[in-house]
């Protein structure tokens, strides 16, 4: 566990409720994001994270309102830029626990260009995507994970774009931790978040989080999700890919997990190569005539 710089003093622990901020969630009653938030509180509590040493960053969307509801430092960024924002936070102070959160539109539409790079850099952050397969905040347009043919005001004759497969995608990006949860299974989600936070490197967690107002998928996901086979070896990338491509079930659990140096570790190692013999005066003098 590489989060020791951000845990509370040995003898201290805060209850999940103590991670609740004074700001009241503005989500619709029944929104899946409530489940994710509760699991998040639990994960922080169980890991004994110090609220003053945790940062939750987000993009824009219903899900993007998340940070304000957590008793921690937070940053409500602009739409789609949460990964570079969180990267900057982590690299600005690697001692912090940094989580990035947001919706499927934020992550896979406007923010899609940042995901492969956060993954290949192996930035030590946990990225939680609350996937409701719809644009919630803007009132129900299809998102990159919406099923083909979805009828909404923006696609009255059925949408014409095939959905992406976020798990397969992040596996292809060589993200070092790839998992999926369902907000109605809070214990599992708590566990995934805990694993994501303790994983040293980029942890991607897709969480099905239904939008009761514009696309109520509770029943659907209860039917089509299933736990990953008990014998799945999360270090086996090809097996993970095969399971991510399954047409039978949408599997829940940790698809893949692999240790490799995180970005902050790599930066530190380069500093060692460069040495610490820096002198401003010497540098300036190298330009003397």
């Amino acid at each position: 566990m590489s989060i020791e710089t951000a845990v509370l003093h040995e003898d201290k622990k805060l209850a999940a409720a103590e991670y609740k901020s004074a700001v009241k969630p503005i989500w619709c009653p029944g929104c899946g994001d409530f489940g994710v938030l509760a699991s998040f509180y639990n994960a922080l509590s169980e890991l004994r994270i110090d609220p003053a040493r945790a940062v939750v960053a987000s993009g824009i969307g219903c899900s993007g309102r998340f940070p304000a509801f957590v008793e921690a430092y937070g940053f409500h960024g602009v739409h789609g830029r949460v990964l570079p924002l969180a990267t900057g936070i982590k690299m600005g102070n690697p001692d912090l626990v940094v989580c990035a959160v947001g919706g499927d539109g934020d992550a896979f539409s406007i923010g899609a260009g940042h995901l492969p790079h956060a993954a290949r850099r192996n930035v030590d952050i946990t990225y939680i995507v609350m996937d409701n397969e719809i644009y919630g905040l803007t009132k129900g347009q299809p998102s990159p994970t919406s099923p083909l043919g979805m009828e909404r005001k923006a696609s009255p004759y059925g949408s014409i774009e095939s959905p992406i497969n976020p798990i397969l995608m992040t596996l292809a990006y060589d993200a070092s931790f790839v998992a999926r949860g369902f907000s109605s299974r809070p214990k599992e989600v708590t566990e995934l978040i805990k694993q994501g936070i303790t994983h040293k490197g980029f942890a991607f967690i897709q969480i099905y989080s239904p939008c009761v107002t514009f696309y109520d998928t509770y029943k659907h996901f209860r039917e089509v999700t299933a736990p990953l086979p008990a014998n799945h070896d999360p270090t086996d990338k090809l097996a993970a890919i095969r399971l991510a491509m399954s047409e039978e079930s949408l599997y829940l659990g940790v698809f893949y997990k692999k240790e490799r140096p995180a970005l902050d570790e790599l930066v530190t190692s380069k500093r060692q190569i460069a040495g610490d013999s820096f002198s401003l005066e010497k540098l300036v003098n190298s330009y003397r005539s």
């Binding site: 430092y73 409500h76 570079p84 969180a86 900057g88 690299m91 790079h117 540098l283 003397r288 005539s289």
Partner: protein
């Protein structure tokens, strides 16, 4: 016969890949080492490799501030160079050419010419690639520069000590020197007297290098950026240095990521920055507003280049002023700082960081292609005088039952008389808050009431007004010329070089002319500008753009006719163009009884 000069312009032209830029830069360094002031300018070909390159060195006993208009010497590596530049030679100038490549016609109007068999000479020492170093040796002799200093520069710049390459380069230098001595004249045709030359009393440096040194001096240790001409070498400079001083440089996937990373790092307390050129700045507009709204300090360097769109990446323009000042959805206060010279790039970079940290706003530093790539001599940097401005942090206090000092009832965006709210950094107990891009109350919680939005808008704008006072205290103004001017020039950025020379010339010709260069462009130091222009009959605003962006900002604030002087061809002003407009304006302004036509319309000048 030797000409004694104290100001010479030498242009070198040839095919990219022949080492033209190296020739020019090394020669400039040798001249500087010999106690001369140098000012260089170069063109970059459109081709990735190959294409015509021009490098010009102006060398003078006194400080030089512009590229110089006519050539004292042209060194033509090939026919194209001759054709492109020979017409710029002064009467009495000298053409030096690679006689293995071209045979120019016999000179007219007193121009002398010397052929150098550069290919042959290089071949004679089995170092074909070295013909440009041979040429440097020849120049050293032609200009009567101290040979041992030339050797020293070659040793420093062109190879590792004891290495084969360095040996070859030194041999090439000698070959060129000797050839002139033996075949052209024992006595150098030019002699440039330097200052009382003490080794190392000048820096030979480009604007981007000076700027990068400013970054480090300001204490910045976080850079995220995406490559773009002509800003990339700032990133490359910092990539080499930051690891040595515990800093972090990330090459981001695009400009939005770069700025978002810098904002994130700043949130944790780091001084953070990015650098780009116009197309990149255009992509940062949304995040610029975000930094403004969340009150996050960050410095964005924009090395302007000619556009619009991809435009001419290797040509100069001052076209991003309005984007820098106004770029944002709705109204997002920021500070804009513009250095006026290579040297000033250093000092204004420090000011930019200080203002960002002090006011918790994005600061845009507007450099330009011309001063960014140009190498010139500048006085030593006054490192000792540097003043650094800390960020206002919320101070944790003991007590209230907490184990460690902690913040109580902390409000991130609390309104204050100055508008500056103390910031709490992650890691500070009790200081938890969410930085918010939605309109928010003092705690950061979203709040859309009309009163809140109005109050916050005022707070955010009030805050940056403080920079006006700092600009005065930190002397972010360059004023030059007559003490009681009749005609004034108000400009910004790198046009200050040719303006300085033009003003000097005008004064020498008896005109009462002065120039003011504010380095803080937003908020605009209106009072200082009005004070400067109070007694003027007319103000000329030279800009390397079409619309007169700065002129138009000044017009509503001045009671004097504002004369636009615009150049929009991708090349900098020369002093003559400015001088001409000063003279015209002066005549108009001093001629009694002449009908004062409205002169504020843009008058295009190419």
């Amino acid at each position: 016969m030797q000409r004694m000069d104290n100001d010479l312009v030498i242009r070198i032209g040839g095919e990219s890949g022949e080492g033209i830029v190296t020739t020019g830069e090394v020669f400039a360094r040798i001249a500087a080492f010999a106690g001369l002031e140098v000012y260089t300018v170069r063109t970059i070909p459109a081709e990735i490799k190959g294409g015509h390159v021009m490098f010009q060195v102006r060398a003078s006993q006194n400080s030089v501030f512009s590229q110089g208009d006519e050539l004292d010497m042209l060194l033509a590596f090939n026919q194209e160079a001759y054709e492109n530049h020979a017409h710029l030679l002064k009467p009495g100038g000298i053409l030096v050419f690679n006689s293995d490549e071209l045979t120019p016609p016999t000179p007219q109007n007193g121009t002398a010419q010397y052929g150098l068999p550069l290919n042959e000479l290089a071949k004679s020492i089995s170092f074909v690639r070295g013909k440009n170093i041979v040429a440097i040796g020849a120049l050293v002799k032609l200009f009567d520069l101290p040979y041992e200093r030339a050797q020293k520069v070659v040793e420093r710049q062109l190879g590792r000590k004891g290495g084969e390459l360095l040996r070859q380069n030194l041999q090439a230098l000698e070959t060129g020197y000797k050839y002139v001595e033996e075949h052209i004249s024992r006595e150098s045709p030019f002699h440039l007297k330097g200052r009382e030359a003490t080794e190392g009393d000048r820096l030979v440096i480009s604007g981007n290098q000076a700027l990068s040194l400013g970054v480090i001096t300001a204490g910045c240790k976080f850079y995220a950026g995406y490559p773009i001409t002509p800003a990339s070498d700032i990133m490359e400079f910092l990539a080499a240095q930051f690891p040595k001083l515990g800093g972090t440089m990330i090459q981001a996937e695009d400009e939005m990521a770069a700025l978002a990373m810098a904002i994130g790092a700043s949130f944790t307390g780091e001084q953070a920055m990015t650098a780009t050129s116009g197309p990149g700045l255009a992509l940062m507009v949304e995040l610029l507003g975000h930094a403004s709204m969340t009150e996050t300090p960050v410095v964005i360097v924009d090395v302007q280049r000619a556009g619009p769109s991809t435009g001419m990446p290797t040509k100069v323009a001052q076209g991003d002023l309005r984007l820098a000042v106004y770029g944002g959805n709705d109204e997002a206060p920021r500070i804009v700082v513009a250095p006026i010279s290579v040297e000033d790039c250093f000092y204004q970079t420090i000011n930019a960081f200080n203002l960002a940290e002090k006011y918790q706003v994005p600061v845009i530093l507007l450099s330009d292609q011309d001063m960014s790539v140009r190498v010139e001599t500048i006085p030593p940097l006054r490192l000792k005088d540097v003043h650094l401005e800390p960020r206002l942090l919320a101070q944790p206090t003991e007590g209230n039952g907490a184990d460690e000092p902690s913040l109580h009832g902390y409000e991130r965006y609390v309104d204050t008389p100055s508008g500056i709210s103390p910031m709490s950094l992650p890691g500070t107990p009790g200081g938890q808050y969410t930085a918010e891009g939605l309109e928010h109350d003092a705690t950061g919680a979203p709040n859309y009431t009309p009163e809140m939005h109005a109050t916050n808008t005022e707070k955010r704008f009030r805050k940056i007004q403080g920079a006006l006072e700092d600009a005065r205290r930190w002397n972010m103004f360059e004023r030059l010329g007559s003490a009681d001017p009749v005609v004034g020039i108000i400009g910004w950025g790198s046009t200050s070089g040719p303006v300085r020379e033009a003003v000097q010339q005008a004064q020498e010709n008896g005109m009462r002319v002065a120039a003011l260069y504010p380095k803080l462009l937003c908020p605009l130091p209106e009072e200082d500008i009005r004070r400067f222009s109070a007694s003027l009959k007319a103000v000329i605003v030279p800009e390397m753009n079409y619309l007169g962006q700065f002129a138009e900002m000044l017009e509503p604030r001045l009671d004097v006719p504002v004369i636009h002087l615009n150049k929009y061809s991708g090349v900098p002003f020369n002093a003559n163009e400015i001088y001409k407009r000063i003279r015209e304006t002066y005549e108009w302004a001093t001629e009694v009884g002449k009908e004062a036509e409205r002169m504020s319309a843009a008058v295009a000048l190419r």
